[in-house]
Every structure is written in C-alpha cells, then in structure tokens.
Symmetry: C2
Subunit: 307 residues, 2 copies
Amino acid sequence: MSLITVGTMAFDAIETPFGKTDKIVGGSATYVAYAASNFVKPIQQVSIVGYDFPVEELEELKSRGVQLDGVEIVPDKKSFFWSGRYHADMNSRDTLVTDLNVLADFNPQIPDSYQGAEFLMLGNLVPAVQLSVIRQLKQRPRLIVMDTMNFWMEVALPDLEEVLKHVDILLVNDAEARQLTGQFSLVKAAKSILQMGPKYLIIKKGEHGALLFDKDSVFFAPALPLEDVFDPTGAGDTFAGGFVGHLAKTGDISFENMKRAIIVGSAMASFCVEKFGATRLREITKTDIEARIQQFKDLVNFEIELL
Amino acid sequence: MSLITVGTMAFDAIETPFGKTDKIVGGSATYVAYAASNFVKPIQQVSIVGYDFPVEELEELKSRGVQLDGVEIVPDKKSFFWSGRYHADMNSRDTLVTDLNVLADFNPQIPDSYQGAEFLMLGNLVPAVQLSVIRQLKQRPRLIVMDTMNFWMEVALPDLEEVLKHVDILLVNDAEARQLTGQFSLVKAAKSILQMGPKYLIIKKGEHGALLFDKDSVFFAPALPLEDVFDPTGAGDTFAGGFVGHLAKTGDISFENMKRAIIVGSAMASFCVEKFGATRLREITKTDIEARIQQFKDLVNFEIELL
C-alpha cells in the first residue's frame, strides 16, 4: 500500500566520540525512506533539496522504490545543512551549525500522482507545513503518523495543537512528551496527549526503548543493547520508517500489529546507529533484518506459568 | 527449597514529592523477605537489629515463613537508621541521616539450622561480611546471588573483587556497572564483570527496566509504566527477593528460568513503589501478583512472522 513521507533531505556533518564526518546525506525523509523501503513500495517522497544534493543519492532512492515527484529541487540554493557534536553518553548533543537554505522556503505541493495514498508519515517540520500537507490530500489517508520536536512546542504551539487534531499517531521522545503536557509521569503525559487528538502515542526513550499507548493499553519495545552506539543521528526517523513501513506493508492498523511495527522500527534503528549517517541502512539485507528481529524476540519474549 | 537471605533490618525516614514518613521499618533483608516469602518457605534470615525493632514486625515475618534464628537482637543499641529525600524525578536522592547503630558491629553467625540451604541472597553489605557468610556455609549453596553498591567500590574494592569470585549472580545498577568496569557501554561492562567471577549479571535500570546477561545471551525486562512512583525505597531489594524467590521455588537455575525470575522480581518491585516502604508488600495477595505478571506479559510479549 502506498505511503507518503514528508520531511527533510539534507546534509549533516557529525562528530561523535568515535570520529567525525564531512557533509554526508541525512534528513528525516531520507532515513524514513531508507527504512520503509525494506517493507513497502512505492514510497512517495515529499521534500526539498538544493542544487548540491547528489544525483546518485536520488538514483539510489529511486532504485529502492522511492518516488521523487514530490521532491522539489531548487536550482540556485543549497540543501539544508546541520552540524552537531554528540557528548560521550550519546544521549545529548550540541548543534554547531544550522543552515536552513532551501528549507526556509519549503512549501510542499503534493503531486496528483500521490493522491489516494493510504499512509502518511509527517516527519518533524514546521507544524503549519505538516497541516498544509494533510489539507492537500483529497482523501484522508487511513493512517497519519507525525513526528515533532520541542522547538515547535516553544515557537508554534497553537499550530502544533491544531495538527495534533488531525493525526492518528504522534511520535515524540520522553522529554518532549513531558514538555508538551507538563506531566513528569509518562503514563500521565500519554493520557494527556491522547486527549489532544492522536489515538496512539509512541514515546521514544532512545537506548531505553519505546512505549506505545492507546487509551486502554501500553506496549513496550526495548532498544537492543549494543556494544557501541556509533552515531545516533537519524535513529528516530529510521524507527519511524520501519514502524510505518511495516504497517503499510501489512495494511493492518490494529494495536496488535502496531506492537510488531514498533519492534520492526526498533530493529531498523538498531542498524542505523552502527555506522555514520545512513551508511548501515544502505548495506543491510532482508536476511539481516530478519536476524535482528529474532534478536528482539530473544531479548524480551518469555513464557511464564502463573503461580 | 530453602533460601538464606543476609542484609539489613532497619528504620527509614523517607521524604518524596508525595509526602514524608516518620521512622518506618525498612532494610534490604526486610524487603527481600517480604518479596521472596510469596514464593518459597522457609526463608532463613540473617540480620541484626536493636532493642527498638518492633516485635510485631518480627511476628509478621515469622507468620510468612521467615525464620529469625539468624537475626541478632542487641539489647542496648538502636537499629540501623537511614533517612533520605528523593528528588522530583525519583531517580536521585539525598541521604539526610545514616546512623549505623547495631550495624557497626554486624558479624553474622550462621545458625546450624541454616546449614545446607540451596540458595543464598547476599544483600548489599560490607563485602567482608558477605564473604564471611559464604565461608561459614559448610556446603556451598547451588546459587549465590549478591547485591552491592558504589560505596564499596570506593572503599573496599579488593574485598569486593574477592567476593565476586565466589558468587553466581551479581546485581548492580547501571551506574555501578559502569563504575566497577570503567566501561560506559553496558554490554561491554557486562562482559568485563562476567570475567570477574559471576556467571550471570543483572543490571537494574530503575524505571528503565533490568538486563540479565550471561556470556552468550541477554534478556531485558521492562519496568511497568506507572502513573506515579510513590516511593522507590526498597524497590531494588524487592526485585532481588522476587527474583531469588522464584528461583528457589522452582529449583531451576537455567537462563530460561532466570528470565521468568526477573519478570517476577520486576512485578514485585512494581508493587513496592506504590506506597511508602514495605506497606504495599504487606497487602498484596497471590491474585494481585498473578495479575501483575500478566500485565508484564501484555507489556512486552509480541508475535511476529519473519519477513
């Protein structure tokens, strides 16, 4: 089933305790596309890049079933660029450079060929842009998933609250769930967010896994314990891509299937952090993914007779 | 199967964001006994208390199958007393008062009636005392589990390293695992600790769950997402009590059964934090425990067809 993904395609320069990169390809929609394309085709990408974005990267994505009709290429501007340095614990980072470049003008137009898509993944963007995409779709997708971040809670909260009324699933991290609701308890924060519009909430806790809530239930997916997290850049977007990719592949949007989708997302994210940027995502095969999902089963599944 | 538990029986005065208590009964061996007594009898307690320790508490423990022959009652001294205040996040706390009292003289003598026990749970204590207990046992227990803390890594590391050579399972929290090994990665820290003596390692991560390692495998148990953690005091000891209680009940010390034991420990700890001190542990029934374990199954178990 078709999936529209909206987000950035960009350059990142990354420093971690393990090394540093020059400008490499990144951006939320890039990671989502790499992850989701293991599960579903076509992926209908909506983004904006400058003249400097590598043609080979676009070709690579196309070869994976990613349609680029919705990717605007601006001939006289550069692509969005971010540079950051991770601290030793890999849970915090300093932004060194943010050059919006083409992103300052991002006003996505949904191509006619994308109309009728059943799944929509809204990457972290200005809430008004996320809302504009939803409004351009003549038929509401069966499932709308959105990511966001603390910055929009600070500078565009009313817009963010409006988008929340139109989506099915919100993806945030634990700090963002707390900031959005003023609740320290994630269970209370979840209750509060589920009153704001979304029917489901995923709280990402990085190395501590992820929680899925609906109004009656909660499910927990661990992160895989790794010897080293080499570079966490894009892990959240890769998680989102695996998650929505699995749902779009199966066409099943039940809570039970969302559990599986979160495990798939966690498995994909566990690959992402093994090398810089999207490097590892370009290498892995279906066999690697199967083996990794089996590791997640072994990691948490248990059988117990009640007393 | 019989279980010896060694640790403190004490008074605590606790402040949390939800309220404060006067002196209430606490201590590692108290929590272990309350938790484990749901699964196995007898529990052969080794501890030391002063003249002020409530007789009713000792009677309550006896009624749960806890033998007190190894609990020394010092007629002219007070029981160990600790007072602390938790911060808003409940993950950190300030110690306000530590009065060792009887604990300064703790030199446990294992009663003859305890000889031949198959399971030994060494609560967090001076490593030399833990070692003395092991050496007093004429027949080595089938399974020795030990808890410890960062303090002993700072002031008694050689003794601690010696005890580690004699135990099967070490229980520590994530910060302690890192401190003991100098490794930030918990996977690397686990490899390092499994070279020091223990065949199994449990790393407790509080609200983020717990990891069980042996040299080949890893298992992850989540913490139950709770609306409020009312008071975390004793949660780690309660976890240990549920864990070793399940193993002693079943007599099965395979990795597969340790997985179940960690879930049982996590379930018991999730009760502990619901009220001050051991209050909740005195209230719960087998039915409550069964229902809680079912919640853990629902929380993490998933079925997935590979791709």
